[in-house]
Amino acid sequence: MIKTDILIIGAGPTGLFTVFEAGLLQLKCHLIDALPQPGGQCAEIYPKKPIYDIPGFPEVLAGELVDNLMDQIKPFQPGFTLGERADAIEKLEDGSFVVTTNKGTKHNAPIVAIAGGLGSFEPRKPLLDNLSKFEDKGVAYMIKEPEVYRDKKVLIAGGGDSALDWSIFLADVASEVTLVHRRNEFRGALDSVEKVQQLKNQGKINLITPAEVVQLRGDDKLSGIVVRKTDNSEEIDLEVDNFIPLFGLSPKLGPISEWGLEIEKNAIKVDNTLDYQTNIPGIYAIGDINTYPGKLKLILCGFHEATLMCQSAYQRIHPDKKYVMKYTTVGGVTGFDGSKKEAPKAVVKAIE
């Protein structure tokens, strides 16, 4: 069981900044995120896009913002459970919560801060009959163990970086790799596009474009796929062991919607007059996932919400203590790792 003071669900910019504000109050944080890396949408959807409304940054790339936040919170040694989705919550007798992920990892904390943005990112599934029947029986939406595909006939569908990169990688592992995409053009790093071109020329990747998968065949497990060329409607029947559709990820509110929280317009209602607490005391919702009158889904609003939420969390954890807010310019930043940042002392010396 992982124990912490504030359990943050969602490692996007709001969740990450929460670690800093909590750290100033000497509260420890642990973050859960369904994605394999921290940063949320900023890292997953638009790392290379500039953001212009972060106070003090005339322009910052979303990916850089995440790097900066990770740097800023490093002294407070946050824990991470990445690549796992928070599935269930349970309240214990002592008033603390246990949050369990889809992989069974358990986390215990007196405070839960949901900073889940739009929800957890789930793979987008193509619309095909039988698709769910073959899940884990030849169909997978992400590649966890590349060795599974050794000497297999693999068909990958998609036109982005992950479709290109995995086609390249599996070309050396699988016995056959077929890449199917609805257009002739791919959206990916130039290197990857060129590499696929090279492998295609060498006969190591069977490229079918513009085309789409229209049918899956098989009894107990997947054994074949029908691909239709979209330019001339020609149908190609292929023997295939594995089908990996890589159409990116889309966010879903998911299991959090069944935690008994008040939901409005796909977002969690919170008390914006005070501390962004939900209808369940001890559970807060901050950033894009919450809603209240006048809500704006902006990163800078998430930062503000995180700051006020941490003050409230402190009061819940230490009801008998009175906290006096200290400016970082005055108090500096003392990390849990023993590091100390502070303003250099002015020198008092007479000039003769």
Binding site: Q41, I45, Y46, K49, L118, R124, K125, P126, L127, G158, G159, G160, H181, R182, R183, E185, R187, F247, G248, S250, P251, L253, K265, N266, A267, K297
Partner: protein, 110 residues
């Protein structure tokens, strides 16, 4: 303030005729959200960067629309329920030439 009329059929097949301002730097996805013609969280998920297809719509009238950018082309190539007249609402800027535009929202992806 100058408005144009746009006809939008929502995902339940209900037709709405709405006023869309041409002087507020808005796009079609934002118009749909302003009038709440699709539930929040089901449209404009990426915020209007042509990085999701939640604002996909079918253009029913024969207005001349701006050409698709590479990003929009690429996104539509990976979206579902795509037809020849599919566009991403976030990439359609509301301008006076679009007076009388008729669109239908594509189904929500599951």
């Amino acid at each position: 303030m100058s408005d144009i009329k746009i006809k939008i059929t929502d995902r339940d097949g209900v037709l709405h005729e709405v006023d869309a301002p041409t002087d507020m730097n808005m796009n079609l996805m934002e118009v749909v959200r302003t009038y709440e013609l699709a539930p929040e969280g089901t449209i404009g998920i990426c915020g209007g960067m042509a990085m999701c297809a939640s604002c996909q719509c079918y253009v029913k009238s024969d207005h001349e629309l701006p050409e698709k950018s590479d990003d929009e082309e690429a996104m539509l190539a990976e979206a579902f329920f795509v037809e020849d007249n599919s566009r991403l609402g976030c990439q359609i800027h509301i301008s006076p030439e679009l007076e009388g535009l008729e669109v239908e929202l594509a189904p929500e992806e599951q």
